[in-house]
């Protein structure tokens, strides 16, 4: 039983790390700030979700598991809102500088 649980954990944690790696890669490689925000949210949401899911069988008791899910939900909420805040900051800065350059194009 414990072997199955461990295998489950490993698979999901590995998948989570893969998403984090993808997010990091996106953060580094994507050309515009707005799309980089998008990449960041991927890492935050999916990567963290997979890791939490994978760790659930390792939780010592139900309370601990519930807390893990709570951490994930909170991170979800916060990162979603943070993405909005930062995107708004980018828009505001671009607007304020009134640079001749048009706003960033919407595709990578």
């Amino acid at each position: 039983m414990s072997l199955i649980a461990d295998a489950f954990t490993l698979v999901f944690v590995a998948a989570g790390i893969a998403f984090f790696a993808a997010g990091t890669l996106g953060l580094v490689r994507l050309p515009q700030t707005l799309s980089r925000i998008h990449a960041l949210t991927k890492a935050d949401n999916v990567g963290l979700a997979l890791i939490v899911l994978g760790l659930l069988p390792q939780a010592a008791n139900v309370l601990e598991g519930a807390k893990m899910v709570a951490v994930w939900l909170l991170a979800q909420l916060a990162s979603g809102a943070v993405a909005q805040v930062m995107a708004e900051a980018v828009m505001a800065e671009t607007k304020a500088t009134k640079d001749a350059a048009p706003p960033e194009e919407g595709h990578p």
């Binding site: 943070v82 930062m86 505001a92 671009t94």
Partner: protein, 97 residues
């Protein structure tokens, strides 16, 4: 099992550090904030991984706190550097190759 969890945590930390380093050299300040946000997300994941690895349930509380306060920095950044304070001549988020 604990060793594997530690290995995963190490990997996450390295990933976040790599992202941080890459954005630091080339990015503008919003990008740097994003890198710090990535570090925060990785930090949450690391703390979650360390909880079963070390067997200390109190680490979950630190993860909870990190998740809560990650948003504070972004909000403070926005409040401190609104467009009203923007210095003319600061380049906008330039598309990078």
């Amino acid at each position: 099992m604990a060793d594997l969890l530690f290995a995963a945590a190490t990997l996450l930390l390295l990933l976040a550090a790599a992202g941080l380093a890459a954005l630091w050299r080339a990015g503008n300040d919003v990008d740097r904030m994003l890198a710090v946000q990535l570090l925060g997300a990785a930090g949450i994941a690391v703390l979650l991984l360390l909880t079963p690895a070390t067997g200390d349930p109190a680490l979950l509380d630190t993860a909870l706190l990190l998740a809560l306060l990650a948003a504070l920095a972004a909000c403070a950044y926005r409040a401190a550097f609104g467009p009203a304070r923007q210095k003319a001549g600061t380049p906008p988020a330039v598309p990078r190759p």
